[in-house]
Amino acid sequence: MPDSTILAPLFGGVLIGTSALLLLWLGGRIAGVSGIVGGLFAAPPNDRGWRLAFLAGLGLGGAALLAFDPAALPTELPAPWPVIVLGGLLVGFGSRGANGCTSGHGVCGLGRRSPRSLVAVLVFMTTGIFAAQVMRPLLMGGAS
């Protein structure tokens, strides 16, 4: 492999894009993880099967990673738990408010050339950069 620091992220991205394409082509659905999980709680019962199947696939993929490449899974998260809980709440409420997250707006929305998704991606990239570079050092005393 020429340079895995470039090829691995790129190839992984192509796999993710293929996964989204496959779901739209075969199932007619958008592969947005926050929407799929969220729909489990709000969608009508006959709309739950494919969501559970997708999440089971995610779990299987996680299990495959654990078996073949355990270093790809985090052992611990790079933040103390109050920050993790705060981040989790922000991510949860934020992605529901925006009707999508990195996969729904990013991968699928940009692929559909949705103006809403483009705006969402630009906004969450900007605030994400701000949080990582300004808020994290403030909250955690410099370690980023």
Binding site: F11, G13, L22, L73, G87, G88, L90, G106, G111
Partner: protein, 162 residues
């Protein structure tokens, strides 16, 4: 057969995240701190596939195993979109986890307690909890509609990711 498609898609999604290194919050944070272009390459690779593939797929009348494509239809840019995306970005940048990796991380941790992750991840627990809250807020006004009617465009806009 109908459920094999989302299963396979989810599997591929998780493996793609793993291959890309985006299951590791460190890599996400390194990108947001301008130290590593990896996430840009991942998003670029994924978006290239969807940009090229989605229009071709949507030329079909219907999906292979479904009656119709379920797509978001809204194109307006409103306050919830901006505020939600902004909040999402802050949470994402604080911990380096977005819903995909967090879900997968949690499922592997739940299904495989002997694996590398010993304890339940409080981040994804709070993400899932906040989904329930956020859903409850959304659906209180729509509960009657959901119970009685097939999905309307408004329903789709509210409950499908865009």
């Amino acid at each position: 057969v109908r459920l094999a498609a989302p299963l396979l898609s989810g599997l591929l999604f998780a493996v793609g995240l793993g291959v890309a290194g985006m299951t590791l919050p460190e890599n996400v944070l390194a990108f947001l701190a301008f130290r590593d272009p990896g996430l840009l390459l991942t998003m670029g690779g994924a978006t290239a596939v969807t940009l090229l593939g989605f229009p071709r797929v949507l030329r079909r009348e219907r999906p292979v195993f479904g009656l119709r494509f379920v797509l978001p239809t809204r194109r307006d840019i409103d306050r919830p979109l901006i505020v939600g995306a902004a909040l999402f970005g802050v949470g994402w940048g604080l911990v380096g986890l977005c819903p995909g990796p967090a879900t997968r991380y949690r499922t592997s941790a739940t299904f495989f307690p002997v694996g590398r992750t010993r304890r339940m991840n409080p981040g994804s627990a709070s993400q899932v909890t906040s989904y329930i809250f956020a859903r409850a807020l959304h659906s209180r006004t729509n509960a009657a509609l959901i119970m009685t009617l097939p999905p309307t465009p408004e329903y789709r806009d509210k409950f499908e990711p865009s």
